[in-house]
Structures are given as C-alpha cells and as structure tokens.
C-alpha cells in the first residue's frame, strides 16, 4: 500500500484523533478488499455525519474536532441534505436549540472546504460526471444514479470512508470501480405499462426486495422514460435492496456500449414485472388504513424543475386544507429557478411549503407531531414508516388531492 508523507503523518496522529481514525478506516477497507492500489476521485459526497437526526451530537463533535485540527479537503466534496431547512427551519417548527447545533456541523464542513449543496440530487446542481469517472459517494440514491445514469464509478461509501477520500483525494480500487464487477446479474422483464413517476417507485421497491445485493438489468423499458422517473427508480431500489447499480437496455451507458458483457454474460436469474406485481407493490407501500392525512410530503429524491412546474400548475388557485402540512422538497438551486419563473410563489400561495436542504426522511418528522403521511416516494415511505408514521403511497396528483381535501381516496 503506497501512502504519501502527508497521509503517514495523519496516521501517526499529527492532526488529532479524528483524522487518524478516518485514515485507519481507509487502510482497513483497503486491506479487507485486497485492493491493489488507490485511485483518484473526481468528487466526494458526504451524508449522515452532518445530520443532527442521524449523527446527532456525536457526529457534530466529530466534525468540529476534525475541522479544528487543521484538516482541509483535497477532493471536491459535496453535501447531502441535513435535518432542517437551513434558513426556514423556524417555519417548519424546528426548535432554536436544535437549529444551533445543526448549524455547527454545517459550519465545520464549510470550514474544511465542502461545497454546500445540501441536496440528494446534486446532479441537478452541477455535479455532472463523465463515463468512467471515479467518485466516493455516500447517499445511496446518488450512488445508484451516478453509477447507472452517468456510468461513473463509486462504491456505496459511508461517511468515514468518504471523509478519508475527501482528505486524501483517493479511494481503494475495488468493487464497482472495476468493470468486471459491474456486470448485470438478474434480468427484469417489464411486462406492464409504467405511467407515473411513482410507478417507477413501485417497480424499484418490488425489485429491490428480490435482488438484495445483485445488479439488476431492466428490459422493455419505455425509451422516453424521464430522468425524474429514473431518479425515483434508483432511490427505491437502493432502499429495499443494497443495490448500487442497475442497467437499462437501450438507455444506460454501460449496457449501450457492451450489451453482452453487462446484459447477458452474468445473468443467472430472470424475473417478470407484471401489472399484478405493480398492484401488489402499491398495496405493500400503503402501511396504514387511515384516510385522514395530516402530512403530505413529496420530493424524495429532491425534485427536478419539471416536477415543480407540474405541482405549481396543479395547486394554482387552490388552497391546502387547514391542519394539513405540505412539504415539497427540493434543492436551493431548483428553488431559485422556480422563484424566477414564479412557480414557487404559486405553490406557497396555496399554503404548501417548498422545503430545501432537508426532507421528510432526515428532518425530525415524528417529533414535529405528524401522524399520517401521504407521499409519492417509495424511499420516503420506507423510512417514515420506520419512524412510526402511518403512510399512504400514491402518485403525485393523488398526494396533492389529499393536500386539498385532507382525505386519501382509495
């Protein structure tokens, strides 16, 4: 293993305990995976450490200690959402004490040189990659999107290994960085028509449960599928499965370049996705029978501008029912665009809130007092059910109807 003098100095403790442990983790992962060398990464993405709701005070202390040790990032490093809207936390009902703590970890990351993106769709805010670029990403929906859609290469990192890449600019060369580890293993034949973006959520949710850690290959997908639908599919797949990459015949780059290698050579199993499977997926995604909705939360992963336009056009001239909280989650970049075109104002005029820097999965939604949530995202459904909320899952329009009436129509 070749380490630079700077890395050796960190490992000997010259930059404090935090940095030393981070590099020890990198060395251990290198050894465990029998990596032969390190490769340079073009971009790093951090996720859970900075979140008050996940890393908590431990994560905050850890990052503050690291920033104070003089460590600065050598790789371009972007950031996943945090647990609150960094400007508008007050109107979401987040207490001030909580907000102050969250801001400390945010400031520590900025001090070390992070690009403050605070979004799970950074590719909508400039993180565009070339085929074959090496990355070190944490956010699972971004890992799967970058690997599949761009044909860039990243393993499913966690914060400590990603911090190691941010500090050193490199990652051990193993797993999905190697072409031979990217071959499709299970073929999914789509035998039903997918109409709304949430149909792709249902597909991802269903397939994730079947494939586990295997790489799925989709056949017979509509060639005109939207980028938003592919985002939904990936996020859902990476939630119920430990999936970091998928291929779609005729659509994603690995399989366009070499259909045999990625779509045939290592296929050991074939599965169909029928209309009945879709129906079953929708049923399983509804984890409550209650029809009284008090929280409508959409935009997981963070919405595109196309979706913001769709929502503004639905909500124009309508009013959200009293007692229902509506969060439309997106990034600061997309919100700014929507403010210029007036769509954000239209959405907010209805009583819905356009929420940035965070989402229903990362904000303390249980503590904020929500009980029954409506969402168009299978990923949001999974995590919010885990937090104890009853969840109704359906397409975007159905969720917006519930925002207006306070009722879920079966």
């Amino acid at each position: 293993m070749k380490l630079t003098d700077y890395e050796k100095s960190i490992l000997s403790g010259d930059f404090g305990e935090e940095a030393k442990k981070i590099l020890e983790v990198m060395v251990k992962i290198y050894e465990m995976n029998n990596a032969e060398d390190f490769i340079e990464v073009k971009e790093v993405m951090l996720a859970s450490t900075q979140n008050m709701s996940i890393g908590g005070e431990m994560g905050m202390e850890f990052l503050t200690g690291l920033a104070n040790s003089g460590i600065r990032f050598n790789a371009k490093t972007i950031t996943d959402p945090v647990s609150m809207d960094l400007e508008g936390w007050g109107r979401l009902g987040i207490p001030e004490k909580y907000a102050r703590k969250q801001k400390r970890s945010v400031n520590a990351l900025i001090k070390m040189g992070a690009v403050p993106t605070w979004t799970c769709t950074p590719y909508l805010a400039g993180s565009i990659h070339r085929y074959g670029d090496h990355l070190a990403y944490v956010e699972t929906s971004c890992v799967i999107f970058a690997n599949s859609y761009f044909g860039a290469r990243t393993n499913r990192e966690m914060d400590i290994s990603a911090l190691a890449s941010a500090i050193t600019g490199k990652t051990p060369n193993y797993g999905l960085h190697l072409s031979d580890r990217r071959e499709g293993q299970i073929l999914i034949d789509i035998e039903t028509e997918l109409k709304t973006t949430s149909d792709y959520d249902a597909l991802g949710n269903y397939v994730g449960k079947i494939v586990g850690t295997k790489i799925p290959v989709f056949k017979n997908m509509d060639k005109n599928v939207s980028t938003q639908a592919i985002m939904q599919l990936g996020a859902a797949l990476a939630t119920t499965g430990a999936v970091a990459l998928f291929h779609i015949f005729g659509i994603t780059p690995d399989i366009i370049l070499d259909p045999y290698k990625y779509g045939e050579k290592s296929i050991a199993q074939k599965v169909s996705f029928t209309g009945a499977d879709m129906k079953k997926a929708y049923q399983e995604l509804n984890t409550t029978r209650s029809t009284e909705i008090d929280f409508v939360s959409i935009g997981c992963p963070h919405y595109t501008i196309d979706k913001i336009k769709e929502i503004a056009s639905f909500l124009k001239g309508k009013k959200v029912k009293k007692g229902v909280n509506v969060w439309v989650c997106t990034s600061e970049t997309i919100r700014n665009m929507g403010l210029l075109s007036g769509e954000i104002q239209t959405i907010e005029k209805s009583g819905a809130k356009v929420v940035v820097d965070t989402c229903m999965v990362l904000a303390p939604v249980k503590e904020l007092g929500f009980h029954i949530m409506a969402t168009d995202s299978a990923k949001a459904q999974f995590y919010c059910s885990g937090f104890g909320l009853g969840v109704r899952f359906g397409n975007t329009e159905k969720c917006l109807q519930a925002a207006i009436t306070g009722k879920w129509e079966d």
Binding site: V25, G55, G386, F387
Partner: protein
C-alpha cells in the same frame, strides 16, 4: 477445556463477557434504540434484548449507512456491545467500530457461528483476532 477460534482483527482491544448471538442481520438505524441499545425491530429474533455489556455475535449489519452513528453513540454512552464478532465485516461496521473503539473480530471459522450461543462466556482478544469460549451457557 476452553476453545479458541482464530479470526481477523477489525478493531483491536480486549473484552470479556456474555455472548448475545443472532443469526439475523442487525439494522442500527431504525432497528435499535439509540438511547438504550435495545433491539426494537419487531420481527427480529433479539427483539427486546439489550446489547449493553454483551459481546454481540452476528452475521452482518443491514440497512442504512446512517446506522454507523447509532453504534458510535451507543459505544460512547456505554450502552453498546462490549465487543463484536461478525461473520463478515462491511465498510459501515469498520467505520463504526474504529471510531467507537469497539474491539471487533471477523472471519472466524464457520464452526464458531454454529457453536456459540447466547449466554456463553467469551474472552475476545481483538488485536490478535482470537475468541475464546471459556464457559458454555
């Protein structure tokens, strides 16, 4: 007569105590209470069990990468496991146990996982990668 199994060191350290054994993966985010270290996943065979002061023996972690911080928080508040014996460590576990300083061993012979039962007394030398079964439950 005691039995000694040789594995691989993931994070060094010494620990002695009672084993808490599961054949199912554990999800620390959403499946374990971050304050008490009690396993809360409804369908889990260790549902309701406390891991504090025990040596946790498990096949693997499952679920979100954010679970790493729950394990680190439990270690800091002494409500986490004293040591971990895992069939196959993944990157999330490596991160958690090195930051949380939890003695951890993986890659023991398959026989060890068949033999170990909850309540067994174990002595773990995670620096050398050894696990000694000192008393059967």
């Amino acid at each position: 007569m005691s039995l000694v199994y040789q594995g691989r060191s993931i994070c060094g350290g010494l620990a002695e105590g009672e084993a808490l054994v599961t054949k199912q993966g554990v999800s620390f985010l959403g499946g374990v209470d971050p304050e008490t270290g009690i396993i809360t996943e409804v369908d889990h065979e260790l549902h309701g069990e406390k891991m504090a002061g025990k040596i946790l023996v498990l096949p693997s972690l499952k679920g979100s990468a954010g679970g790493m911080w729950i394990l680190i928080r439990l270690a800091a508040s002494k409500r986490g496991p004293k040591a971990i014996i895992v069939a196959q460590a993944d990157t999330i576990l490596v991160g958690a146990v090195i930051i949380g300083e939890i003695p951890t061993v993986d890659s023991l012979p398959a026989e060890a996982f068949q033999k170990l039962r909850s309540g067994d007394s174990l002595k773990v030398d995670a620096t050398k990668g050894t696990v000694e079964l000192t008393k059967k439950s």
